[in-house]
Symmetry: C2
Subunit: 475 residues, 2 copies
């Protein structure tokens, strides 16, 4: 009987609803069958182990993760990141000293450091006068005399290699709502620069000029002007085609506008002022080193909220990608740093590329960067893809976040707030990973930037973090 | 038989294709009938007189309007508007003299001038020292001693009232491809300003400062820097949320970036330089007075092409809206200036509004402004509407233009070139009028700006121009 009914069914003209794997629908469509595709994936990829973990979390009836996450994301949205000062790292960054080198990403030992980070450490030691050349620097780095620590452990963030040494000047961004601060070096420009692992004389000379001329002069102008509301600047940037991580042309223009009327008021040689204005003008990433500490200072008050599964840091050191979760304290969950899918500068190819590196992905934790790509369709010319990809990226991020930003809006999406506050549970449940766009460094020390692109973080660190979360909070 | 067939037809389940008027489809849809709406209008609105005119044009087999238009639009696209200088109107604007006042739009006599234009003329005469107060100025304006001429008759353009007097400084933009130049005063900022019809002491003082401090200093910086490629600036603006007519936040930021490193090199008191940088920073419309002469200089080489139906100027004087057509020489075709549909500044309403005024609609003739609204979704906060409206506006403009711009692109439309080169025939055939967004002046002299919005130009001037075109070129 049953067989008859099935036979009967297939004699009729079929109209098919296909859930999940699209290839079935594609085959049917090719045969002229009317099909409706339903985008569906089994929760947690149908992984029985993960489903059991979700059950254990739900079984803890005393736990209100949603409330904890709401509190965490509300702190991110209340943040008022404000540019208040420029200081010398040794003077302002907590715990900074001459023999300490800060770097991007989770902790990593010298022997495991990737090429660009090794290059930046070499450059940092030369810059500090602790080594005369690359050979001496490598020896010193390996000697155990130098301490290496993540920027994140010192309220700081660093783009790409993210190396901060004691005498480097840093932006000071204060989250005036909560009173916490975050620090970041000043941006050196693109190409042959320390953060991409270059350490030639040209690189060191530029760093010296930045410490001697650029930073003290900008500091005076900033003091004359008074603090700059970076939240407002970022909100404007998103209305002007920037996403705040890899496109900052508007942001840099806006910072120049803010500072120029005060720069000219200083008692400084005009050549010096002109060079500073030209330096900012020639480097559209100038403002990245301001949006990064702005993001860091915005998300830090959302750390250490009991029961919160919000991701409060993502960072890469070139060897590993790591995340931190609000309810899980200081612990890093790591996976191997990924290969970036990107566009290359003339003369370079994927064969030259280092793996994913840098703290700049802190921007994504506050709802900008890759999460706001729809605000910056022109970004695809820098990182590859089409404008439609940019919108698709942002759309997907709503699936793994807990809120829509109340300040950062996307004009092309009818001023919808950017997806803000990454929920670890949602990442694991949907299998959707955070969208990140990034620069690409050369794999060898001493070369510099070779391209930019999109990167997919390693899945395992999210899973391991989730396991730890259930271990801590599950029934 | 026939009746039976119809009866039979209506007994079946109907599936309807409805062409044209949507209300039929809406009614059917309400009754649950499956309908497919086809967007269709009869050519030229089904107007028999117009259709006959189209026939007469087609009957002239020796005429190749498409080729003439292709030549005209190719000249627009080859243009290289370049900011080369700042000069004093009397020295650089052709035919300028002390007793001549230039104004926006087509020609208009003093007695027919709208409030804002009267106010700006009063202010202009006071500024020139030709009148001591408003009463004296009105008397002089009415005396016949002063000549009034459109800016367009002197290679110039002026925003809103567009008043240019002999001692005002003007931007000089050269189209380096063709060697022609265009002129425009410097932007005064928003609110109580001459171009919106205000003429108080505050207005005159600002104009004096602009002539004595602002213009000569910017001129020196520009000379030190060298010419600025405005085509490049406009192309960038469209990637940064500007449309070049009513949103110029990115454009103004970019101009500040270009000039600041040279401004600081001048031997000028720092307070003077700081005030200049702050003045530009505080006025996002600063760059409008550069995009306007850039557009004017781009479109002028497309004038006077035999057989071309390209619209080479649109302009309003507050009383009339006028257009000029490439193949019809210097003649203006005019209709009554429209009421602007817009958003008002606090304390003002539609009752305070003057009619549409200004030469700024020259931007739309080169594929920016209203035609590029899709590039500037945030513009809707200034002129009203939704981001979707912005895209719809741009989409419609492809129906009445002959090319897609090869330089000005819209990121949100997959970098499609902006609709460029308005074909008078297409405007008349489709009934689609050019999309214009604009500021709103107070209807009385002496007040100033009250809002901004979207405006629909008068249909009759396009029809009359088309009649003249057929008169000249038809069989």
């Amino acid at each position: 009987m049953k067989t008859d009914k099935i036979t009967e069914l297939f004699k009729q003209e079929l109209k098919v609803i296909n859930m999940g794997l699209e290839t079935f629908a594609d085959n049917l469509a090719e045969l002229g069958v009317q099909t409706q595709q339903v985008d569906w994936k089994p929760p947690a990829g149908g992984d029985a182990g993960l489903l059991e973990l979700f059950d254990r979390l739900e079984a803890n009836t005393e736990l209100d993760i949603d409330a904890a996450n709401a509190e965490a994301v509300s702190r991110i949205m209340q943040a008022k990141p404000t540019l208040v000062d420029i200081g010398i790292a040794a003077d302002v960054v907590p715990g900074m000293h001459k023999k300490l080198i800060l770097h991007a990403g989770p902790p990593v030992a010298w022997k495991n450091m990737a090429g660009p980070l090794r290059g930046a450490v070499i450059g940092g030691l030369i810059y500090e006068g602790l080594a005369g050349d690359a050979g001496e620097a490598e020896e010193l780095a390996a000697s155990g005399e130098i301490t290496f620590d993540p920027c994140h452990h010192h309220d700081a963030v660093g783009p790409m290699a993210g190396v901060v040494t004691a005498s480097m000047p840093v932006w000071v961004v204060e989250n005036t709502t909560f009173g916490n601060k975050a620090y970041c070096t000043l941006n050196e420009g693109l190409g042959k620069v320390l953060r991409y692992g270059a350490y030639s004389e040209e690189v060191i000379n530029r760093l010296n000029w930045m410490a001697e001329d650029l930073a003290p002069t900008l500091r005076k102008a900033l003091h004359l002007r008074g603090p700059v509301d970076i939240k407002n600047i970022v909100a404007q940037m998103l209305q002007m085609g920037d996403e705040g991580h890899n496109r900052l042309r508007a942001g840099t223009s806006l910072m120049i506008r803010e500072l120029a009327p005060y720069l000219v008021m200083l008692d400084e040689p005009k050549e010096k002022l002109s060079r500073i204005l030209a330096f900012m003008h020639e480097n559209d990433h100038f403002t990245l080193n301001i949006t990064m500490p702005a993001s860091k200072s915005s998300v830090d008050p959302a750390r250490d909220i009991d029961g919160s599964s919000l991701i409060v840091a993502m960072a890469r050191n070139g060897t590993e990608f790591g995340i931190r979760v609000s309810g899980l304290g200081d612990r890093w969950f790591t996976g191997p740093a990924s290969v970036v899918d990107g566009l290359y500068l003339p003369g370079f190819s994927a064969a030259d590329a280092a793996r994913d590196i840098g703290d700049s992905v802190i921007t994504e934790t506050t709802g900008i960067g890759g999460f706001a790509m729809a605000a910056a369709p022109a970004i695809v010319k820098f990182v590859g893809g089409t404008p439609q990809d940019a919108i698709t990226f942002t759309r997907r991020m709503y699936d793994i976040t807990v809120a829509e930003n109340d300040t950062y809006q996307i004009p092309a999406m009818d001023f919808r707030g950017t997806p803000t506050g990454i929920d670890l549970r949602k990442v694991v449940e949907t299998g959707t990973l955070p969208a990140i766009n990034t620069g690409i460094a050369h794999k060898d020390p001493g070369v510099g930037m070779v391209g930019a692109g999109l990167v997919r973080p390693p899945e395992n660190c999210f899973r391991e973090a989730f396991e730890a979360f259930v271990e801590r909070y599950g029934a």
